[in-house]
């Protein structure tokens, strides 16, 4: 009994720690400027040379500081310096490496030279790789396996240190993109542009083959396209003209990497303990990863050495009124700690948000009606219930596009022939994406008029931007053409009433998709219904992910679902998806529809290297008209992001390009604690009632048994 009491007492005391009973966080954290948020999927990579997914950038963008970033408040999206002291100066050179004027034609430019100056005094997060002993030598550079006996996390190292960020660290990271043991997703693209990177990758591959067990010292091999000029300046040499390169400089691929960190992690026994750069990133950004348990919680703490950035002092019109400039000039970050908890399921996530234990939340379809109401004009606003809790909504159209592609190599739906083109146009009219967005996305999306989403140069608002092959402009809004027009086009294509005029066989079109199961049945049924409108039979060929990818690679499809999320806000990043040289079949590119049109391809080559200008817009307009006419995709829709946040969270502005947003956010922890207490008072009566019921039924049972025994 004593033992039981000894066990139960601390357990019960721990439950009564003075905090709210349903508070999942320690009481000691109350009142502190901590942001509570969640992640649904563990990141695969945290090495800036390997990570490329949104859920990985959610962490990395706070930890690493590449040269550039997107302005948090200004629209359209605009690049501004982050680690760079100013925007990089670009010089153009001819084949003889002689300077060319800034307005030199792209075909004359053989090389572009980006010179980047970094800010002085930037320092890395605290890390054991920087620790120095009394003699000033790296303390943990030569560890033996037994030195790691009691080490399970970075925090187990007794000492840590920091050092100043140098231009050489940026150059080192660019070399890492070609590291033979790393899988850099952009090596192919960068190999085409950064001078010598492709050969450098081959050289490193050879070196690694010669001595696979040895640490590969990248600095022992020069990369001609990257030169360190001085402590704070480096140059990147690009083949030809590639204005989009500046956007890549805002990604963690180009963040600084101290070589001693890579050496530190390469020591024997580190990998067995999951002590790798892919698991424990080391950056010079506003936060560092202080706890990494992706099965439960990942915590980022403020980098105590980060003091190079202030909250922006200007934004776009209306930002000041919205309170978004209230913190102008304050040192960033404004929050000390960010706690990411793993929430795989949407229901617990949503309920914890309503209880105040998460500061912001997306909206799942299940909770949409509870959270959002649409006005007569189609404007989304939070419901009265949310309003009463002080919850606000921010929305933004994502720089993404969800489309349905036709395989250009298919004999029925593909190709530039009149017959197939009219068939595709008829289908484009029949498949009503406005209805799709309304039914399946709760209205969170806008019908696409082309591959380019709003917010990207080249997108046109209003009548000038509509797809005239599918819509008419009526009463100041686009209206989808009638089914009669679709049927007429279908008849002109040789399929009157959905029947092949030559063979007298009904027209059957196959859709390849990975969607199957009950969850997707409604969507697929809806799609069949759209085809039924023009008497075309749609056959859905559901397949697993591997086979689907295989079919796409081989061009063994007729129609398929796909999506694209922008790498950077430039039309080139969308229009290249339909460039002939990018065809999936034979070329292994990103043009999954295998679309090919010589005029379009020529215009693309011309447009891709241009600065944004009226001339570029005119070329894009022509390209979009070609696409709309050829209709190689059903343009689908651009999703709209809806995010809810509590009233205690400030400086929230939707920005779909910037991933390093957390440093701008501010939390009013006092207000949060007060409201949490108000919303989460425990109900004690069920406990008393339960105890009473247990006692009474026990007593009754005892009485019945006693009676029975007596009657015996």
């Amino acid at each position: 009994m004593k033992r039981l009491a000894c066990f139960l007492l601390p357990v019960l005391l721990s439950a009564c720690d003075g905090g709210l009973w349903n508070n999942p966080y320690p009481v000691a954290d109350e009142g502190k400027p901590i942001l509570y948020t969640a992640f649904t999927e563990r990141p695969k990579h945290l090495d800036p040379a390997q990570a490329y997914s949104e859920n990985e950038y959610e962490f990395l963008a706070q930890i690493y500081a590449p040269p550039l970033q997107y302005h948090y408040l200004k629209r359209p999206y605009q690049l501004v310096p982050l680690a760079a002291s100013e925007m990089p100066a670009v010089r153009y050179l001819n084949k003889e490496r002689q300077p060319l004027p800034d307005n030199a034609p792209a075909e004359n430019i053989a090389f572009s030279l980006y010179e980047i100056h970094i800010k002085p005094g930037m320092r890395y997060q605290p890390h054991p790789a920087f620790a120095r002993n009394a003699r000033g030598e790296p303390e943990y550079a030569h560890l033996a396996p037994h030195d790691l006996r009691d080490i399970h996390a970075l925090s187990d190292f007794p000492h840590s240190g920091t050092r100043t960020v140098t231009a050489a660290d940026y150059a080192y990271q660019i070399k890492r993109l070609a590291h033979p043991q790393l899988h850099t997703p952009i090596l192919g693209v960068m190999g085409d542009y950064i001078v010598g990177l492709k050969d450098y990758a081959a050289t490193l591959q050879q070196a690694a083959k010669k001595n696979p067990a040895a640490f590969l010292d990248l600095d022992a091999y020069p990369l001609p396209g990257v030169q360190v000029v001085d402590e704070r300046t480096y140059r990147i040499e690009i083949a030809g003209k590639y204005p989009q390169f500046a956007y890549w400089l805002a990604m963690p691929f180009f963040a600084p990497m101290p070589p001693e960190v890579e050496r530190f992690y390469a020591q024997d026994g580190m990998r067995e303990r999951n002590l790798t750069l892919d698991w424990w990133p080391v950056g010079s950004g506003p936060y560092y990863l202080s706890e990494n348990n992706p099965n439960q919680r990942m915590v980022m703490a403020r980098n105590p050495h980060y003091d190079s950035e202030r909250y922006p002092g200007e934004g776009e019109a209306g930002d000041a009124q919205a309170g978004l400039l209230a913190d102008a000039g304050k040192p960033l970050p404004l929050i000390d700690k960010v706690v990411f908890s793993l929430e795989k399921e949407t229901i617990p996530y949503w309920n914890k948000f309503l209880q105040g234990y998460y500061d912001a939340s997306g909206i799942s379809s299940d909770s949409f009606d509870q959270a959002v109401q649409m006005s007569v004009g189609g404007e989304a606003a939070v419901t009265d219930e949310m309003k009463a809790q002080g919850i606000t909504l921010s929305t933004a159209v994502a720089t993404s596009t969800m489309y349905t592609g036709f395989n250009w190599l298919d004999s029925s739906v593909g190709g530039s022939g009149e017959r197939a083109r009219k068939l595709r146009q008829a289908i484009a009219i029949a498949v009503d994406f406005e209805e799709f967005v309304s039914i399946f996305a709760n209205g969170r999306g806008i019908s696409a008029q082309s591959p380019i989403p709003p917010g990207i140069f080249g997108y046109r608002e209003g009548e000038a931007g509509i797809n005239r092959h599918v819509y008419d402009w009526v009463d100041g809004a686009p209206r989808r053409k009638s089914i009669e027009e679709a049927k007429k086009l279908l008849a002109e294509a040789g399929y009157p009433d959905g029947v092949d005029a030559q063979t007298r066989q009904p027209l059957v079109i196959n859709l390849d998709t990975t969607a199957n199961g009950v969850g997707n049945k409604a969507r697929l049924d809806w799609l069949r219904k759209q085809f039924d409108k023009i008497n075309v039979q749609l056959v859905v060929r559901s397949t697993d992910y591997n086979r689907f990818q295989d079919k796409i690679r081989r061009g063994d499809t007729q129609m398929f679902y796909f999506g694209w999320n922008a790498d950077y806000p430039d039309p080139e990043n969308f229009l290249f998806l339909l460039h002939g040289a990018q065809a999936k079949v034979g070329k292994g590119g990103e043009n999954a529809a295998n679309y090919s049109n010589p005029e379009y391809d020529k215009l693309f080559e011309q447009m891709k290297n241009m600065e944004n200008s009226a001339q570029r817009q005119a070329i894009i307009d022509r390209m979009l008209e070609i696409l709309r006419r050829d209709s190689p995709w059903l343009w689908g829709f651009h999703p709209k992001n809806y995010v809810l946040q509590h009233g205690w969270l400030h400086n929230i502005k939707a920005n779909v390009m910037a991933n390093n947003k957390l440093k701008y956010w501010r939390v009013d922890a006092g207000q949060r604690d007060r409201l949490r207490r108000e919303w989460n008072r425990p109900a004690y009566w069920p406990l008393w009632l339960g105890a009473l019921a247990l006692l009474l039924s026990g007593a009754w049972l005892w009485r019945v048994l006693q009676k029975r025994e007596k009657s015996k």
Partner: protein, 325 residues
């Protein structure tokens, strides 16, 4: 008994090899090494060179089962099957496809799984046996009928309903425990109490009905009649005689699952945010991570065999007539 145990352990080796071979065959019927590489590298900007490099680094560039290009033992040892399987027999699970140590992952995640599964198992067993004995005690009365009806009702409800309903009522309406989360040590009590209670309630229906049937069968036997004739109280008859003699069928179902407890529960852990092993295998299958799949299947088979051996041993403890030879 020692000889019996050694024999059983030796039998386990071909079983484990067979399970391993079957897992390997099933996995690679559905996925090719190229598919695995593409899954790991993502769908954007993946080049054929990157796929080859990935396969080479992780040893998936070798033949699956027989290496025709090699000679002698190399025909077998130079294959994916050998290189991915042999090390497991010395409990070296290697690394997952995203580069994490599988052994360390299992060691880290088994604790939280056990924190839920062990109390649920023990409390559950006590509750189910007690409830079944209560129904047996009041057999053929209104209480028994109500108990059976309750069991049928509880059996008819989906496990997911208990979880979502429990979270809604206890955490959202009454604010008594956190909806989800986990913490080690004593601070973790408030996180595990609801999943344990729900786990126990979720099993009441089927288990209590099963135990009731066992107990009712026992109560019809001669020794029970004799005990009653001797004037023993009904409680003494049930707890001292019926329960003891019903142990063999109970142990058959119970002991075998003990070693598997640390493998966790997929649904419970997902909804309550428990960082256990419940979803490790499923996530690995979805990610086409063969290294994790084969490690978890190997471990599951090993623990199941251990459970069966433990069950045999437990028989000798509760029934002196049983001898392991």
């Amino acid at each position: 008994m020692i000889a019996y145990l050694i024999r059983r352990i030796l039998y386990a080796i071909p079983i484990l090899v067979g399970v391993n071979l079957l897992t390997f065959a099933l996995f690679f019927v559905v996925n090719t090494p190229d598919d695995m590489a593409r899954m790991q590298l993502g769908i954007k900007r993946v080049t054929p060179e990157a796929i080859e490099k990935w396969k080479q680094q992780r040893g998936y560039d070798k033949p699956l089962l027989v290496n025709g290009a090699a000679s002698g033992a190399g025909k077998i040892t130079g294959t994916i099957f050998w290189q991915k399987s042999a090390s497991m027999f010395v409990f070296d699970f290697g690394y997952s496809d995203d580069g994490r140590s599988i052994g360390r992952e299992i060691a880290t995640r088994m604790g939280p799984s056990l924190a839920i599964a062990l109390p649920t198992f023990m409390i559950g067993l006590a509750v189910y046996v007690s409830f079944a004995l209560l129904m047996t005690l009041f057999r053929a009365t209104a209480l028994d009928i109500a108990g059976v009806a309750l069991c049928v009702l509880l059996m008819s409800v989906s496990g997911l309903f208990y979880i979502i309903g429990g979270q809604f009522v206890v955490s959202k309406l009454w604010h008594l425990v956190p909806i989800s989360g986990y913490d080690g040590g004593m601070g973790g009590f408030k996180f595990v109490v609801l999943p344990i209670v729900i786990g126990v309630i979720g099993g009441v229906g089927s288990s209590s009905r099963w135990y009731r049937t066992i107990f009712l069968e026992e109560t019809g036997k001669d020794y029970v009649r004799t005990a009653r004739a001797k004037g023993l109280s009904e409680l003494t008859v049930l707890f001292r005689h019926v329960l003891k003699n019903a142990m063999i069928p109970i142990l058959t179902g119970v002991v075998v699952v003990i070693p598997l407890l640390f493998m966790g529960s997929l649904l419970t852990e997902s909804f309550f945010g428990i960082p256990g092993l419940g979803s490790y295998t499923i996530d690995a299958i979805n990610a086409q991570d063969f290294s994790v799949v084969r490690a978890m299947v190997f471990l599951g088979s090993l623990l199941y065999i251990a459970g069966l051996i433990l069950t045999d041993i437990s028989y000798t403890m509760v029934d002196p007539r049983v001898r392991l030879q």
